[in-house]
Structures are given as C-alpha cells and as structure tokens.
C-alpha cells in the first residue's frame, strides 16, 4: 500500500464512519493526532554539550490511518469480545447462570445467559441480549484486509 492509496483510504474510511453516525470515533482519533507523539533525542543546544531533549513528532499519514483502523476495531469489534470473554469466565468456568448490568434505577441494561430466578427473568425481559458476534467478526475481517500491517496487504494492493 503506497502513501497515496493510504491517504485515499483514510479519507474514505472517515466518510464511512461519519455516514454511519460514528463521528465520535473520527473526533477521538483526531484528538490523538493533534496531541502528537514525542520522542527523546540527544541534541546539542547548550554550550555545555549534548543533552536529552523531548521532541514533538507528528504522526505520518500511514500512522494516522492505522490509528483510525485501531479505533474502529476498539469501538465495533472489541465489545463483542469483552462480552464473550466474560460469558466464558463467569458462566462456563465459575458457575454463574447469567450476568446482568443494572443501572442505578434498577433497569437491566444488558443480560447475558439465562437467569434462574423469576426476579431476574422479569428484569431481563427488556434488557439487551448478546451483541452480534458474527457481525463483529465480519467487521474485524474487513479491517484486517484494509490494514497495511497485516499480511493481507498484498490482496488489496494493485
């Protein structure tokens, strides 16, 4: 993937996100880009000789694009993995029947698993159930193919 191609993909990807109402992802990546990176370099500034100095470094176009890909992965793919991992650990390994996130007004926000008590079954009626893990997997596969760090780079380059 050359720099021109990466800039083009970055621009298009931003458009896809904004069209999907995910402006917040783009905005948060931009905040990181504005903050920039810093590195320590040995520079000769003072008469006394070289010294360790903190130097600001701008992200390259490739790095900016990679930040965007990482952000989409975190926003869209990772939550389904958090949920699946918690399900394996709490339900399969430790023996819980279900787990529910309850807000301070005692509304069930999300329920994973099958509640055993009537109280929890009633609560879970209006709660969200598991995220669409297949959809998250599909998005992950697409992001990998768009990622210049992955081996599939050759597939997307012409």
């Amino acid at each position: 993937m050359d720099e021109r191609e990466i800039s083009e993909l970055d621009r298009e990807l931003r458009r896809v996100l904004r069209d999907a109402g995910l402006d917040r992802i783009v905005d948060q990546v931009d905040a990181t880009i504005v903050e920039g990176r810093s590195v320590t370099e040995r520079r000769k500034i003072d008469k006394s000789g070289p010294s360790e100095e903190l130097v600001a470094v701008d992200y390259t176009a490739r790095e900016r694009y990679q930040l965007l890909l990482d952000a989409i992965r975190r926003a869209v793919v990772e939550p389904a993995a958090f949920e699946a991992s918690a399900e394996v650990r709490l339900i399969e390994r430790v023996g819980a029947a279900s787990f529910t996130f309850l807000d301070p007004e005692e509304n069930a926000v999300r329920t994973i698993g099958q509640p055993t008590s009537m109280e929890h079954r009633l609560r879970a009626r209006d709660a969200r159930r598991t995220l669409d893990r297949d959809a998250a997997g599909d998005v992950s596969a697409v992001l990998s193919r768009l990622d210049p760090r992955s081996a599939s780079d050759e597939i997307t380059s012409e």
Binding site: Q28, A81, L102
Partner: protein, 229 residues
C-alpha cells in the same frame, strides 16, 4: 481506489448501517469493566481450586447464581446495594482471610474522601464490616484495585494524571490502570509494568499477562504475604 478496497469499504458501510447488529450507540464502558471483573474472578478461582471455592453473593450476603453488575459506582452497604453481586473467594481458611471481588464500589481514601474502585479485591472481613456498620470500606484493606479505561483512541495523558491522584488516596502499591487501548505517554509517565497495563483485550497476550498477575497477587495472599509493586 482499487476495486478490492472499494468492495471492502462497501462491506464495512453495509455492516455499520445495519441497525440491530452491533448497537453502536453504546459506549461499552460497562462491558469492559465486566470483562475485567470476570478475568479477576476467574484468575482467583484457579488459585483456590481444590482448597477453596469462588461463588457469588448479593448485597445481603445471600448466595446467587444470577450475577448483577453495576453500570455506575455505588456503595457496598445500604438498600441500594442489595441487588448487586460480588464474588467471594473462600480460601477454606480458619483465619478468615477470605477475599471479595467487587465492581464499581466506593472506598474510603486516606483523606476521608470516597473514591470509586472499578475492580476491587478486598478482605472479606473489611467488606462485611462496611456492610454491617454502614461505612465505606477502607482503602487500606484493598489487596488489588484496577482502574478500568475503555477507550476508542489512544489513552490521553490526563487519564494517567488522574490515576496518580487516585493512587495517592488509596493503597498506591496495589492500584493499577488497565486499558484496552494503548498509551505510550501514559506508560512512560507511570513507568509501564509497575502500575499500568495497556492493550488488555480478550485473546491478546496482555489478557493472559494480567490474569497471571492476579493469580500472583491472590497466591501471595493465600501464603500470608502481600504482593506489592
């Protein structure tokens, strides 16, 4: 743009546009905390398997199998705490050094101010003392506290600065900042390895590393020593 990349972007657009597939309006802080809670509970289980047990209780100390987790921080005591669940790490120990694992509860800091702990491993005697007397559990009785930060982009430096404040109020030697994201500047500021774990996500090496670390902390407690940075 080549046709292959165009196709990929179209596929992504279609997936993100599907209204019910991923509920993208959510911010998922709760799921990240739930994932870390599960990681800590499961790691503790592996340490006590064979000699003790791990089970769940509600705020009235009734054993439950339907786990209820908080979306906002709350107190360990009082009527509002009743539905919420914590894990009990029963060591099978007559010296009553059992532990409890909580999600999103307040602890009393060194300056007599309550502070939220996202994931807290605390002595059961301290948790029971707090529930029975309507007081905040003391931060000094923590064995492990994880400050969870789910972030889409890189961790901003301000998060690290806030964490330094939290460490100064609770038991600093057992407080850790854990994030799904990366934060090179925060890592440098907090001296990575000591108090900071980044890129902790399921299936990643840092998931296993954190799990191993929790086992080390619980094992040290079982042996009657304390793990500290």
């Amino acid at each position: 743009m080549n046709a292959s990349n165009r196709q990929l972007l179209d596929a992504l657009r279609a997936r993100l546009a599907a209204p019910t597939s991923l509920t993208l309006a959510d911010k998922y802080y709760d799921l990240y905390e739930g994932y870390l809670f599960a990681l800590v509970v499961d790691a503790a289980r592996t340490v006590v398997d064979g000699t003790g047990t791990v089970y769940f209780e509600d705020g009235d100390e009734n054993p439950v199998r339907d786990v209820v987790l908080r979306t906002s921080p709350g107190r360990m005591d009082g009527p509002n705490a009743r539905p919420y669940t914590h894990a009990v790490v029963d060591l099978g120990d007559p010296q009553r050094r059992d532990l409890e694992i909580h999600l999103g509860v307040y602890f009393a800091g060194s300056q007599r101010v309550p502070h939220e702990c996202d994931i807290a491993v605390v002595l059961r005697t301290e948790a029971r003392r707090a529930r029975a007397n309507g007081v905040y559990p003391r931060g000094s009785q923590l064995r492990l506290a994880l400050e969870a930060k789910y972030r889409v982009s890189n961790l901003r430096l301000g998060v690290g600065r806030e964490f330094i404040g939290l460490r100064s109020q609770l038991r600093g030697d057992c407080c850790y900042l854990v994030t799904n994201s990366s934060g090179p500047k925060t890592a440098r500021m907090l001296s990575k390895g000591a108090a900071f774990r980044d890129e902790v996500i399921p299936g990643a090496p840092n998931d296993e590393e954190l799990s191993h670390f929790v086992r080390t902390v619980v094992r040290a407690h079982v042996r009657g020593t304390e793990y500290a940075v």
